[in-house]
Amino acid sequence: MAGDELRQRFEMLEAEVLPLAESPAVGAIRRRGRRRQRTVRAAVLVPAVLVGALVARGVEDQQPRPWVGPVAPVPTTQPASVPPTSAVPPTTIEGPPTTPAAPSTTAAAAARVELRPDGLGVVGFGTGEREALDRLERRLGAPDERGAWRGATPFGTCPGPVRAVRWGRLYVLFTSGPTRYAAGGRWHLFTYQVDAVRRTAIDPDYNGPWPPPDPPPLRGVSPQTAAGIGFGSTLAELRRVYGRHLRVSYGEPAMAYQFRVDLGAAGELSGSLSGGTPSATITFLAAGAPCGE
């Protein structure tokens, strides 16, 4: 194919796409620019204040660990999910094959890993990282993955640097940034999410053909609420359990069916659904102070 012919085809493409590219009013572009400028200024100011606060308190003892990838193979067989009722003993939870920590039989072990608006049952939001990990590893065994990020993360924009630990479908996130649960400078649990895919497999710098390959789906540990709601539960089940506390909407920011369970002072659960029909299922569930886009 000659160069002239290619040029003609590009010229045709330009002529056909130009009418489709409707330009917003220049005023709207200017406003968008000013909005962004304000956001950038705030983004610069807030970390500066945080750094000042950190210096005043003494620097945190640990720096975020670099990404270390999977630390144990994901079990090929589905471990028993954390049961929805507290009557089931926690020893039914199975960890990966290399799990070093045996389930505790102490009184502390009687508490369950449970999706709650204020945490995970055995640990509440605001719990220090080490303590939270100790308790969770006692219940769930060694995690499948650990990672650490500053700035943009696979989870969106978070309140500060983030460390994430994953067991099966459960991502548990810690930050040293300020949240409603703790002041900045102390690594603490601030959110969890039960996810469909291995979010950490998404390459933020991907630059190849579009679309990129889908991240692998997650299996394994998949806790539920006390009422048995978790990944894969249906919208009908959500309605039956939470009734008037449940709100379902469609639209921004995910352009998908989303739900929110407002439990008043206890907090809220939120997530995404595969659709808007009663048989639609939960594809994502989170609580705490989730990271935003």
Binding site: F10, R30, A254
Partner: protein
């Protein structure tokens, strides 16, 4: 005066830049988002950007960076998160143009960039080298290989259509 300059610059370049970024990304919505954001950024620092030798090149470069990092990553994450159907990847276009877009999408990013800058932005190889931050020789060889690869893709696509019609 500066405001009027920006308005004219925006009105005169928006459409062409969308087409150029579209040729690289293959997605019109992404291209429009990226170009609008790039113009928004230019508007707040127009005093500086407007004095550049090629403000258009600055906006194009910002738009391409955005299209391949921030905006696309955010959209991809949202799609993954929600499993919502993605917006149509290409607008309704005649078959020849759709074939060209599909062929471009099958090429590596570096090829798409040089083709868009050469055929749509009408830039000489020296300017392409400057915008992409690569050597002039690299631009020439990449352009030659990109042309060959694009022609091959277009011919393969036409053969597929022909054999499908039989």
């Amino acid at each position: 005066m500066a405001e009027r300059d920006f308005d004219e610059f925006y009105a005169g370049n928006y459409g062409r830049l969308v087409v150029q970024v579209f040729a690289v990304t293959g997605n019109l919505a992404d291209a429009e988002d990226a170009v609008q954001e790039a113009f928004a950024r230019a508007s707040v620092c127009w005093g500086r950007v407007g004095s550049y030798h090629s403000p258009e090149g600055w906006v194009r470069r910002v738009a391409l960076n955005l299209a391949f990092t921030g905006l696309r990553r955010a959209r991809r994450l949202v799609e993954v998160l929600s499993r919502a159907p993605a917006p149509p990847p290409v607008p309704p276009l005649p078959a020849d143009s759709l074939a060209l877009v599909a062929a471009l999408k099958a090429l590596p990013l570096g090829f798409r960039q040089v083709l868009a800058l050469h055929y749509l932005a009408d830039l000489p190889v020296e300017r392409i080298a400057g915008e992409l931050g690569i050597a002039v020789g690299t631009v020439k060889s990449r352009l030659a290989r990109a042309r060959q690869a694009l022609a091959r893709q277009l011919i393969d696509g036409e053969e597929e259509v022909t054999s499908g019609r039989r």
